[in-house]
Symmetry: C2
Subunit: 669 residues, 2 copies
């Protein structure tokens, strides 16, 4: 068990380092030269200028995360044997001399272990886990904070709808319409229904209005303010000047392309080289493969049951991992993987919602002339009270169930695994062994944080963001549910990081990377989908057209339903029941949601003028809404500067002081 | 005449400087330390490290522009008398001790004086005039280059239309329609017309199609590639790290707000301070004033004759200068002025075109029920063969006339002024005096470059860019005309800068400033307007709908005209003529361009179903077109990286080398 040795050594190293750390000639930004004011400025640390820095306490001068990074850096470069290339921890890990190498959890953080962490710990987390994880928590906290107003407005809209329920003309009419008989929505086996049966759904739906624009703009405000917040954090954490180091080449890449070598234009050393044509042919194959899989997946998901979906999904994930692309460096690979994975998960989560919002019930034809797939299967129809109710229900179910399940999995899985290892250990060593375990033994028994640990966290949150904003027009309670979830999520994540996972190696990061681009993309997509949901899915436009035409909503329900003569049914869709058991007589005419001429007009079942009015109004609404929202979005983005004013002033002040100092120094010579 | 003295002194200074310039302890980026490769790297110049730099020739080590800037910098700080504040050239200029101060033209450039400059002189210009003017020429050359493909495609489309003229069903039908009588287009005094009279216009219009999407995308490609080009220039010109210095406060601002003082957060010195409320109330007043003036101007321009326009225009310009805003620094003032001026000129140039494209003839009602302004004046109608012909003619006229006039003014005005001064001088000094004038005397007699010299140049070009892209769908020859104009313009500008203006003080600039944002705004606006032009102004959609419905274009002309019974005319618009002198009999029915029911239908003159079909198709086209174009634009912007690959590699290489050097330096200690 070499791991123990390693951990032991690390412990010792840390102790050793505490003594001589500040004398190390490496650059780290955490030092405070005292200029003429109370403000403190940071500069790269350098041994030769050690007298410039204020060092109160050698042990705490570098923070936890920085110290871990220093140790790791040294371990990477220490020779373990004579000979070329025989150095570095990674090499020992890869030839299995060591099983694992990780920084230890510290005792001070044991306190958090027992309790759920109730605070926004991003600063704390940054010192302990490094900037990358700190940034995640900062982002999550920020996002949760921005959900508050959205959730409040959503709740208000919902409650307003509930309280004004009785006054809504349309739902009143629907509830009173016991004499309107709706056509059956499937072939043969569906019964005739009274319109008043869908009374309760109509009531639920009536509050859908008003907050759409607001939510759109909120998502823009969120992104813009996050930009500012990020800038402040980057300044406070001394990351403004920090840039990614040159990445190392992925071992897979090196193995594959070791034959051809080429001079690296940056370092001037030879390195494996991927030919241009090879790279782009791979990229195209990969992209088209992804496109094919994603669309196949979306198609299958919409059409069939979940067991087939699961198998397709795993197939897809397999193909994703065995992708033909060969990115050169780890970070390129991570970006490419992130994008692909996000795309897949996004389609996975949203395809059914998209289908319900924009396709369900739109292309079914009309009673008596249903459109059929391969001339055989009738396409699914919406609920008699409109397609919006389907969308609403779907969203509610997904949000509640998926989030609960996610949270459970996220916490439960490592909990169970850790419980299992503890149980095994107890069997091996007897019940009392645990207390005497040293820290590294205890941490070794925790789950390792997988390579995409943070990726999973981001993915979950950003899928939620997308789901919440993209269909917010249909389901105003979405932000509230998301908020509740996040309040739990942020605590669960903190708990998990501190107690259920081995402490990951701290790493620096300036921003949330490719996720920001994805968030912006979602912001744009959400404007478009919401415009379409309001115009196409909801009854907003038909009602508006009716109100404009007749001045009131009286009789709207009747006008929005077309008449169908039962004897015109195709043979295969003729209902089994004549409806006489429900309505006394056999039903002669039934109604369906569309704008078509009645059966006894000159051109039976052709679209009425009203249909074209509504269609033109819908399209016009989309155009107006999109242009307006995008104009306001641009305006907001323009008005909110990327840097907060005081931060900009501080940065300019620093630059000014440095200039002055240099000027004086030149003059003194 | 102190000016002579000043210039004299400057000449001497320059000569003196040539000797000891490289020893000056000021930072200027033009020095070439020799690293291990043939590539050369630049670093801030510093006297103490003079031995690092390769200096072949002391006289040419700093380029022309840099030397001018050094001299100016010194003159700004030289004391001319004992006492505090008695220093600097600006103070002497402002109390009229000197009349003018400017760098001299150099003899080497005299060569260019006589000939039109035929080359892309941006590099040359940069050394001579400084980066700001160099960048303008670089941009102009780039823009002209990008106009080539656009012009080619436009020309091709135009020629294709000409050659396939005979095969166009619609124009054939129009030319043969001698029996279709169009209603008069104005009250009382207009005659009835045969449709075949507009035959020639129909022929001109037929080639309008196909190149719209292409032009849209070209403008995106242009902007994206300019970003790359700019980055390359900034690197080659050593401006990557250069940042604007802290601006000085405008004297106007200082005078106005001298009472309240506040600590400047950057330099820590007290300075005049504008209260927050004051600033924003001024901003709001100014913005609403601009908005009011611009819309008033657009309205007046559309409605009435040009003499009123001129007076309004000058009124506007007055109000623009006496604006209530009080920006703190020169650069803030410049940005604000640029934006306002651009907005105004843009509206000035485009309002009539916008009016013709989207409003002319759309809200006139129908014969027999014209909409009237204040129930009195009938609104103008389009040409009988469609509104596109009006737009086309308007654009052609504006482009040809305005550009010719602009070029004439731009060159002619300084030419005439200079000729006038020369004439005056000849009278004073006799005909032979001229040859013996020293350089400063000769340059003094040239026009000073006004403060917004470059502003005017940019404005002209960017207005042209806007005009060309925004209505390119209506007038495919626009890029060609713009190209021809620019080829002349770039030479004229160069000639003017070198021979007609005093040499301006060189100044540095990293990019084209606020203009880039304006260009991007135009790019977005152009997509929207082109979508609307194609959908609303042109006949593209109605033809498509007709072709989709009937499978061919036969009879389209007849179907697109509605029938009007002459006896239904209102009394005040009853034509004076009955048409019998043209058509033999008195006209009973005439036709007009609209989709309305014939007079003997159930609902006479109400819109037909066809109208709603076309309307829906138009709106749908706008939605599809915009989404498609914006998607492709985003994709292009994403695919074209902001930095060219080799530049990025070079920058990373530099950083890598510096890191290595520092690492080694640390190790050596």
């Amino acid at each position: 068990r070499y791991a123990e040795h390693l951990i032991c050594r690390m412990e010792k190293r840390i102790n050793k380092f505490r003594g001589w750390l500040p004398r190390k000639p490496m650059k780290f930004d955490d030092t405070l030269p005292d200029l003429e004011e109370n403000e403190s400025f940071t500069a790269p640390f350098s041994r030769s200028r050690i007298h410039h820095f204020i060092i109160h306490n050698k042990d705490t001068f570098f923070n936890n995360a920085t110290r871990s990074r220093i140790v790791h850096h040294i371990l990477q470069r220490v020779k373990y044997e004579e000979g070329k290339n025989k150095m570095g921890l990674n090499r020992l890990l890869s030839n299995n001399s060591y099983e694992a190498a990780f920084p230890l959890h510290e005792v001070i953080f044991q306190i958090f272990r027992k309790t759920l962490v109730p605070l926004m710990l991003c600063c704390c987390f940054r010192r302990y886990f490094g900037e990358k994880i700190g940034l995640y928590f900062a982002w999550l906290g920020w996002y949760t904070g921005m959900l508050f107003p959205a959730a409040l407005v959503g709740l208000f809209v919902f409650l307003y709808g509930i309280f004004t329920l009785e006054h809504c003309q349309v739902s009143k009419e629907i509830c009173q319409a016991t004499d309107i008989i709706m056509c059956p929505i499937c072939d043969q086996y569906c019964p005739y229904l009274r319109l008043s049966d869908s009374c309760i759904y109509a009531k639920v739906l009536s509050p859908q209005r008003g907050n759409k624009l607001y939510q759109q703009l909120l998502s823009t405000v969120f992104l813009e303010f996050w930009k500012r917040r990020r800038a402040v954090l980057a300044y406070d954490w001394d990351l403004i000047d920090w840039e990614e180091e040159e990445d190392e080449i992925r071992p897979q890449f090196e193995a594959k392309y070791s034959k051809k070598e080429r001079m690296n234009p940056i370092s001037g050393k030879p390195e494996p080289y991927q030919a241009f044509t090879d790279k782009y042919s791979r990229l195209i194959v990969s992209a088209s493969g992804i496109f094919f899989m994603v669309s196949l997946h979306a198609f299958v998901k919409v059409l069939c049951c979940s067991s087939v979906c699961m198998s397709i999904q795993s197939l897809f994930l397999l193909s994703l991992r065995a992708t033909t692309e060969q990115p050169r460096t780890e970070s390129e690979w991570e970006n490419s993987f992130t994008l692909k994975m996000f795309l897949f998960q996004f389609v996975n989560l949203n395809s059914s919602t998209f289908y319900i919002a924009f396709f369900l019930g739109r292309f079914t034809g009309r009673p008596g002339a249903y459109l059929r797939l391969i001339n055989r299967w009738k396409l699914e129809e919406c609920h008699p009270s409109g397609c919006l109710i389907d969308l609403c229900m779907q969203m509610g179910i997904i949000m509640v169930l998926k989030q609960t399940w996610n949270n459970f999995m996220e916490l439960g899985y490592p909990l169970i695994q850790n419980w299992w290892t503890r149980r095994k250990l107890r069997r091996e060593h007897g019940p009392k062994a645990k207390a005497s375990f040293p820290q590294w033994e205890r941490d070794y028994n925790l789950q390792p944080m997988n390579a995409y640990g943070l990726f999973d966290e981001y993915l979950e949150m950003i899928l939620q963001f997308g789901f919440t904003t993209i269909f917010v027009a249909a389901f105003p309670l979405a932000p509230l549910l998301a908020l509740l979830n996040n309040i739990i999520e942020i605590r669960l994540d903190a708990y998990k990081f501190v107690t259920q996972w081995r402490r990951p190696l701290p790493s620096q990061a300036k921003d949330i990377g490719i996720w920001y681009g994805i968030l912006e993309g979602i912001g744009i997509l959400s404007v478009i989908t919401n415009a379409f949901v309001i115009a196409v899915t909801s009854d907003f436009i038909p009602r508006l057209v009716y109100a404009y035409k007749y001045g009131c909503m009286m009789g709207y329900v009747n006008a929005s339903l077309s008449v169908f003569r039962v004897s015109d049914f195709e043979k295969r869709s003729q209902p089994k029941t004549t409806g006489s058991e429900l309505f006394g007589d056999a039903v002669k005419y039934c109604r369906y949601r569309d704008y078509r001429e009645p059966p006894d007009s000159a051109e039976p079942y052709s679209y009425t003028l009203q249909f074209w009015h509504v269609l033109a109004a819908r399209l016009a609404f989309i155009i107006v809404f999109e242009h307006m929202v995008f104009a306001i979005k641009t305006l907001i983005a323009y008005l909110i500067p990327d840097l907060p004013k005081d931060l900009r002033d501080r940065m300019r002040r620093e630059k000014y002081l440095i200039q002055e100092m240099m000027y004086e120094a030149e003059l003194e010579r």
